[in-house]
Chain length 392, copies 2
């Protein structure tokens, strides 16, 4: 069997990329042409001119999502730029289609200026029913998402922040179900306080978690260093999402003692076996740094991890965004919501978790497979239900 890298290059080269735009209707004779184009096409145009909401009836907008990226934080590759980032965004587009039945089109931006990005997206949003921001570096991604959520009337979602948060929450819900631990009793250590970590912390707090301690490349987060923190972290502290350790000089090893959960969205090898051994009974490890987690699967299990989840497809418990975003957009598009709300994200997390029955849950199976056909449907139904509740 050939090397994965070589096979991926060959697959991309042979097909010249991964996406294609096709016609949903036939175009075989003059009558077809007169219906789909001139002169018949004037009618749907005039109907939309009279009532703008009819753009959802007569065009593909209602099922079309723009995948927007400037290539500044692509996968684990970093700032490789918008050209080199395109294969990832085409990949995202086909995941949208295959897992959610959502049409998605990648738009790579030739600028990193956050205000310019907001203006461009607003100016090109008409043919899209939703906006998925992807692989834009922090903190710009947060600024861009917040402004677009306010200024556009279609759902805007930054998957790197919230997709990860939804699936991590689902995994935690099920680890609690299996272990008998309760959200409100958990002590959680979060490694990484950027856009993903920030969204995870907020969702966990919404789940009832009371104690989240945080660690980042500058060390353990404590009040003394407040002035040095970036705005995302400042917000987490101001909103009382993150707790401080009692000692201002506490290290990561110190705060890991008696912790129930480690959540990593940071870099490889941040924790070690000894730290896991110092945790409470039945510790959960979600080590999602890509491609190399905060501790290897083997080491985590050897050190006594009760549940070990990573971002990788070659180990159990893959915390994979593809469990969330296709169904989430499917539901939001079907319900034609103007926003993806916190409640919708929580509904999605619960739907992913509850796909697994009590009897199915195992320590190496706390999250469904990306290829589990039930996931996207259940997520979309949960999101639609929540949307209806919010409209009512």
């Amino acid at each position: 069997m050939k090397d994965l890298k070589q096979r991926s290059l060959e697959l991309h080269l042979k097909n010249k990329g991964k996406i294609s735009v096709i016609s949903k209707i036939k175009l075989e004779n003059a009558d077809d042409l007169s219906l789909a184009y001139s002169p018949g096409v004037a009618e749907p145009c005039l109907e939309i001119q009279k009532d703008e909401s009819k753009i959802y009836d007569y065009t593909s907008k209602g099922n079309m999502v723009a995948i927007i990226s400037d290539g500044s934080a692509v996968l684990g590759l970093g700032n490789i730029g918008p050209k080199a980032g395109l294969p990832v965004m085409e990949g995202k587009a086909i995941l949208f289609k295959e897992f959610g039945g959502v049409d998605a089109f990648p738009i790579m931006l030739n600028t990193n200026d956050q205000d310019e990005i907001v203006e461009i997206v607003k100016n090109i949003s008409i043919s899209f029913g939703g906006i998925n921001l992807e692989d834009i570096s922090a903190p710009r991604c947060v600024y861009i998402e917040r402004r677009l959520k306010k200024e556009l009337d279609i759902p805007v979602f930054h998957d790197d922040q919230h997709g990860t948060a939804i699936v991590t929450t689902a995994a935690l819900i099920n680890a609690c179900r299996l272990s008998g631990k309760k959200m409100e009793d958990l002590k959680i250590v979060l490694s990484g306080t950027g856009s993903a970590g920030s969204s995870i912390a907020r969702m966990l707090k919404d789940c009832g978690v009371k104690e989240i301690l945080a660690f980042n490349r500058k060390g353990v987060v404590n009040k003394d260093k407040y002035a040095k923190y970036k705005f995302l972290l400042k917000e987490l502290l101001d909103d009382n999402i993150i707790s401080y350790p009692q000692s201002p000089t506490a290290t990561l090893s110190d705060i890991m003692i008696d912790a129930d959960v480690f959540v990593g969205v940071s870099v490889a090898n941040v924790i070690n076996k000894e730290m896991i051994q110092s945790m409470s009974d039945k510790p959960f490890i979600f080590a999602m740094a890509n491609p190399n987690p905060e501790i290897s699967y083997e080491d985590a299990i050897a050190a006594g991890a009760y549940v070990m989840g990573t971002g990788r497809s070659d180990y159990p418990n893959q915390i994979n965004n593809v469990l969330a975003f296709p169904g989430l957009f499917r539901g939001a598009l079907d319900a034609r919501t103007k926003n993806i709300t916190e409640a919708m994200k929580m509904a999605a997390a619960k739907a992913i978790a509850l796909i697994l029955e009590d009897s199915e849950l195992r320590t190496d199976y706390i999250i469904p497979s990306p290829f589990d056909k039930r996931v996207s449907y259940e997520v979309s139904e949960a999101v639609k239900k929540e949307a209806q509740k919010e409209k009512a």
Copy 2:
């Protein structure tokens, strides 16, 4: 049979628009996912980062055209705006696909500002191998096209200008073949001096035509009114494309006398039977105002038109842009040209004309049908050949 308008509405409603984005590769198991997305997708990304030209090998860019419009001059409907214009652009996208095998995606712009449009298109151009400007009002369309041609390294083409010019030229070439008239002897009257008229006049001059007189809503073009003319018309005069009538008070009736050809890209009912009767022997009438031509088909024939062409599919000799743009882009994309040059446009016009053998030509068949399978292939081959010549 139901009314065309009703059938068009129903077709659009039933399918929710006309385009869909699909995957060119299968995505059925974890291995597929690891090749198309993480971690395998990192390889094509890194290859493109090393050599930007590889974006054509590993992504869909090389076959993807953006259809850019602000909805300011849509079909015969005028400035209906970007939302109401979307059905037309989706129609254009499926024409690209069905007739040229080109993937095309509509981007509707929420601004009419010409400099902003240029900046947006430049900033979103990465995922596209070509730009087709569509239904943008004059003179902005000309400004936008000229700047983008200069500032982008992919082909940029404004179909409303040049598509019409290419197909009109093809029709004229064949009308000459059939009638025995020669380009250099023709006296042509052009009604309409906007972006389409201007492009037609330039192409006809390039074909060897020596005498083109022009008429627009302000009357017959003559030197006295120069100061009042807009820049497109000023350029035509400065470049000696358009000739003046000898009398400064000449009317359209006056300049039609002894003309060999009438070319209309203006409005309905500009000419009448008497004018045609005053033309030279075997007059050609190309009356392309949509949906109602400058004179009706029946009246033109009754007045003695040797050849009568319109933009309509329900009469013979349909001067339809779909004969040009799919093959033109097919050829330009295949040859990976940075521009669509004047010579390529001329090669396309000749290819369209020469599809019909001498023995096939009739006064009511001087231009192939849009459904003639040979057209797009022959046009693309001619454009590729010209591109190779220009590179050499």
